[in-house]
Amino acid sequence: MIEARGLSKRFHDKKRGEIRAVENVSFRCEPGKIYGLLGANGAGKTTTLRMLATILEPTDGTALVCGYDIVEQPEKVRASVGFLSTATALYPRLTAQEMVEYFGRLNGLDEPTLKKRVDDIFKRLDMDGFRDRRCDKLSTGMKQKTSIARTLVHDPPVMIFDEPTLGLDIMTARTIIAFIRECRDRGKTVIFSTHVMSEVEKLCDVIGIIQSGELLAEGSLPHLRDKYAERDLEEIFVKVVTPHYLDVEAS
């Protein structure tokens, strides 16, 4: 379970002054559901997810992840979360197995449990063929599988994906999409950000449309279709976002 309560994040830039990356964002993600955060580049998706993963600290507001407060108990939150993005690279000089074991140990797993968990995941993701190969020698698909194994090793109840398919070829992207679905089917709370409409249509139980750091619309796809009287998600997105764009430009 994730519950964001008025999350805000402001950065200070020497040239541009104060930047409001996220402004008073509140939403709720339930276990066994996928929440899709849809937004253009720079809309505030990554900052929101980084705050939920406690990589960044909110300027205002907070969130509860599995009942733990992201400001007060960040280490407990991180132990309950699997975080995957295209920016979460692998250590090039570790092997795929060492990479996954390293994160298992950091998550407090004892050696017998870790061994069993690693063996299970490597078998499930068909990774045994390259478990002893260094990460800098892996193909993109193998790297993605290793990243998935890294996020799964401690079996977290919450999964956060930040544009996980960005820049990937179609086959690798399909592996990720299948993995996200599998997480939902296993009862995990899943939140993922994207600007690809088709991914949202395929996967999400609840959609949040974010622009300029503000959550402008939220609901299931049928609900959004009814509300904005449009079938196509892209048209809905444009309808939601355009007035805000005009406001921002005017100001």
Partner: protein, 404 residues
Amino acid sequence: MSLRNIGIVYRKELTEALRDRRTLISTIVVPLLMFPLLTVGFGAAMVSLLNKAEKETPKVMVLGGADSPHVLADLKKLEGLQFVDFTADWKDRIVNKEVGAAVEIPEGFETDLGRQKSDTVRIYNYKNEIKSEFAANRVEKALKKYGDTIVKDRLAAKNLAVSVLDPFEIKQENVAPPEKVGGAAIGGFLGYFVIVLCLQGAMYPAIDLTAGEKERGTMETILSSPISRVHLVLGKFFLVLTAALVTAALSVTSMGVSFWGSQKFHAFDAGSASDAGSSQLHISVNGILSVFLMALPLAVMFSAALLTIALFAKSHKEAQSYITPLMFIVIIPAIAAMLPGVELTPKLALIPILNVSLLCKDLIAGTYHWNLIAIIFGSTCAYAAVALFLAVKMFQRESVLFRS
């Protein structure tokens, strides 16, 4: 504080460092090879070049002397010199290294010698050009010998012994114990190397573990794990410290072996091991261990400072440009301690780097000023603690970790 977590990070960083060619080269290969190459390789090349220059018979040109035929004849009989005919462009020929030196016999020199009037014989050379200087020295030596013969003849003509010119002999003798002689000779040098190599050893891993992580995109990966940032920075810090100490230890070992080896070689080369042994420099193991003990807080300070600075950078290249000035900040006080006459005082004992560098000279010489040692150890530990505190703080700043 979880030692387990710090240990997990340390082990992982060590595994990666041992697989990184660049880290291995800067931490292990360079310190192991530098001194043998410097002492044996460079030293042997230098000795061989000097021997070659010495064995060559230098070409010497005589300027003037037409009215001193006997002197000229005597000069040309001198061994180890090859006289060439006078040419008007003699200066150019010296500069072009065709002629080693030129000797100018003043007008009426022979007559003046007969009258016992002193003249000046000038020797022209190319200053700092090794072969020309050898030639000039050899001419000067030969002329002195020739002058001595004339003096001897003059004294003999007056029935006087040669000892009349040397009423007594002067001889300097060392009374300091061998380790103090060794300390004075290379204590500062050793301190300088330990300090600079501690920094050098820590430099590459510090960059790789911070700016390198950002560049490779693994910083966000590790920050998404439950490890606290304090444990993370401490794990990284201990790896950088290990690299600093390993580099310094290997360097000193390699330096000691090279130094010992070259002394043995020279003793053997001189053909008299016992004579050469008496002039060998003695450095005590205790002295070297004390230097290492004092270098420990300094290595802590360097490792933490380098981590702090390198973390601020976004890439290897940027980190290197920030760290290069630090190298000068470290080298200047380390060199200042080697200057003659700069001695340890309570005030200087508070200046970081300079204090340890000065203390190294005393420690190698076997001199232990315990009050100053306490001040230096205490102050360096305090500076190290501040640097480590800054490194930890830096790891908690989002603006630094996600600087773009």
